[in-house]
Amino acid sequence: MSKMYHKEKSIQLKSSASALYNNLSVLRIAPRCITYFTVVHANVVNMVSASWDGLNYSHRQLQSKEGNVATSSSLIMQAAWCVLPSRDLLVLTSQKGIQMYESDGSIMVYWHALDTPETPTAKAVFARGIAAVREKYICVGVSSGSVLVFDVPSKGSNITLSEVLEEHKEAITDMASECSGNLECIADLVSADDSGLLCVWKSGEDFQLLNKIPGFDTSCSSVKLWKGTVIAGYGTGQIRLYEGVTGILLAEVNAHARWIYSLDIAPFTGLIEHMYNECVTDTQICGARFCDGDGYAFAVTGYDLSEIIRYTQA
């Protein structure tokens, strides 16, 4: 039975959202009854923690830094939480490299610099696409098409680059790990790039490529993996569902009249059918996330908008 959503009170941000793919990340901390939201604005990440009773909000801003040197601004491409069994880390990807923070953004625990050429080349250099995989991996994509696999210990800052996966030839746009919680799934990770190519991986000491699903000459901006099904949003406004390991196309949705910027699924629902649509007037949406695993609430961000708009089921 289809349930209606209604608009809730928005959360104000310190600065507006930039027009980036997947520009909203949500972390639910049940023991403390709060939810964290992050939204990228140019070279700053706005973090808001919202208490579930709606009474307390606190803000923090993280600036993109290169190691210990505060140099001229480096634009951030994405910020996302990585939930691992033993710890949650906040990962930022920018033109200069990758930074990992403790989940509240208080301490930077790791910094990885990208190789930037001496003189500007025609190809931009940046990192984009973040996913936590299984117990101990954080995978980050790069504009060259490489996927960097980081080995993360259960605590401390001894994070190491364990592998570089070279299958994509175009810039990585998004990455997603299996989110159903089902440990029997073979595929652990899917990566997407600007040509629309999807790569499906199995994690391990050496990551194994399970399948390559070609694109159709349009960027895949946002991707999810659920019970082995790859759900991908494309620049043509379409969403496609593939069986990850075989590459079989299961369904195709003509979803939007513009480029899709962000897509999310609520892992505990198991629904693939249209339930609801809403139009945020005069706003170009750049981030969309469910706030909980049941899909009870979701939030969106928009370009030039200094608030997070929320919807909950009636």
């Binding site: 600065s15 507006s16 930039s18 027009a19 980036l20 604005h41 140019a42 140099t71 001229s72 634009l75 033109q95 500007p120 080349t121 025609a122 190809k123 931009a124 940046f126 175009e170 810039a171 746009t173 790039d193 600007d194 040509s195 000459d217 349009t218 960027s219 620049g235 043509t236 406004g237 379409q238 075989t246 079989i248 196309l249 299961l250 369904a251 195709e252 949705v253 003509n254 979803a255 939007h256 009249a257 513009r258 480029w259 059918e273 249209h274 649509n277 809403e278 139009c279 007037t281 005069d282 706003t283 170009q284 370009y303 030039d304």
Partner: protein, 391 residues
């Protein structure tokens, strides 16, 4: 971010600037305000247009733009565009240039935000070059120059992927982030809301290559469609129109990037058709913004009348009211942050050309000699500026 953004930025912004200046100089010609000295004739206007276009499409200038590089800061950008505006006998004082910059950036921002597919940024650019070509069509060598520039753009940009264009679009949107200046013509045409955000339609044709939303198709393992369902898309969309042409000339299909100041509504704002009743009606429609009026008052107090000089020789300057918010002259109504049409004349005494050139010289002086790359927002583009001086 994207190293390929600058040419599109300069050509589109320059194009908007040319549209505005052309319209203003034409309006100037019709203006029968007897208090002005130095009328702008049609020949004067053509001369200004030709000079500016020649500078903008100069071969060496374009080569410098097309070199892969980071985007300029707003400050450097404004300096380059000011130099461009001053490529001829026309001079704008600081305040006029500020308003011009605001208007052209908001116009281009509108085009970027509304751009249906990232690749359409190129079509928008071509709309600008097409229209500029039309403006200077009496000058064959200039038309050739523009064609040559367009060929270079085609060569550089057609191989780029959608993802590359999306990155260019993103780079531009970062530059224009949070710019919410309300522009009278946009508010009037209902393409901008009073809060400064642009109106986004949820109806009309979908972009080329898109399907109309609202359909789900299910497939079996053999790739055959087994079921279809429909859902309400929340909008009122129709099939895509044909693709715009990416050639040297052709139907671009999109109207973004065309000269909006030539639309019938701007004709209605022609001073010769203004009547008392129209003015009164406009006054009734608008909601005054007290804060903006305060700003305008302060500006007026500080600066006097906003005017433009026409330079025939350095000694005598001909003063022209280019960007006045005058009750007799509706003009473009370039108003910063207000839709209040009944605002009084901003009588800003013209800054003498000497002061204007000193201003630019001062800004230029802040750049490093020799174009060495040191940190600081003002240093980008000094190669470009040096080159413009030589033109």
């Amino acid at each position: 971010m994207s190293q390929r953004t600058l040419p599109l930025l300069i050509i589109n912004l320059g194009g908007e600037m040319i549209y505005i200046l052309d319209q203003r100089l034409r309006a100037q010609d019709d203006n029968d305000d007897k208090t002005q000295r130095g009328r702008w004739t049609d020949d004067d206007r053509k001369r200004v247009m030709n000079d500016i276009v020649a500078t903008m499409f100069n071969k060496a200038f374009l080569e410098e733009l097309l070199r892969p590089q980071d985007l300029y800061s707003h400050r450097a950008l404004r300096t380059v565009l000011t130099r461009l505006a001053h490529a001829s006998i026309m001079r704008l004082n600081q305040a006029s240039m500020d308003k011009l910059y605001d208007l052209m950036t908001m116009a281009f921002k509108y085009q970027i935000v509304l751009c249906p597919r990232p690749k359409d940024l190129l079509l928008i650019t071509f709309n600008h070059t097409d229209t500029i070509k039309e403006l200077v069509k009496d000058n064959p060598s200039l038309v050739n120059q523009i064609n040559e520039a367009q060929r270079q753009l085609i060569e550089v940009y057609t191989p780029l992927s959608d993802g590359d264009f999306e990155l260019i679009r993103h780079t531009l949107l970062v530059l224009f982030q949070d710019m919410q200046i309300r522009v009278s013509i946009f508010l009037k045409e209902k393409i901008q809301n009073p809060n400064g955000h642009f109106v986004l339609q949820t109806s009309g044709p979908v972009p080329y290559g898109f399907e109309v939303p609202g359909l789900i198709r299910y497939f079996n393992a053999k790739g055959q469609e087994v079921r279809r369902t429909r859902f309400p898309s929340g909008g009122n969309y129709t099939s895509a129109l044909r693709q715009g042409s990416f050639d040297l000339s052709g139907d671009r299909v999109t109207i973004l990037g065309t000269n909006m100041y030539n639309t019938p509504s701007s004709q209605e704002m022609d001073p010769s058709t203004t009547s008392n009743s129209t003015r009164k009606q406009k006054q009734a429609d608008t909601t005054p913004n007290p804060l903006a009026t305060e700003e305008l008052n302060l500006l007026a107090k500080l600066m006097g009348g906003m005017e433009v000089q026409k330079i025939l020789n350095v000694d005598t300057g001909f003063k022209v009211n280019l960007l006045a918010l005058d009750q007799e002259e509706e003009g473009i109504g370039i108003s910063e942050g207000t839709a209040h049409e009944s605002s009084r004349v901003i009588n800003i005494q013209a800054t003498q050309d000497q002061i204007a050139s000193t201003e630019l010289a001062r800004i230029a002086g802040e750049f490093d000699e020799g174009g060495s790359l040191t940190e600081g927002p003002g240093n980008k583009g000094d190669d470009l500026l040096a080159m413009m001086d030589e033109l």
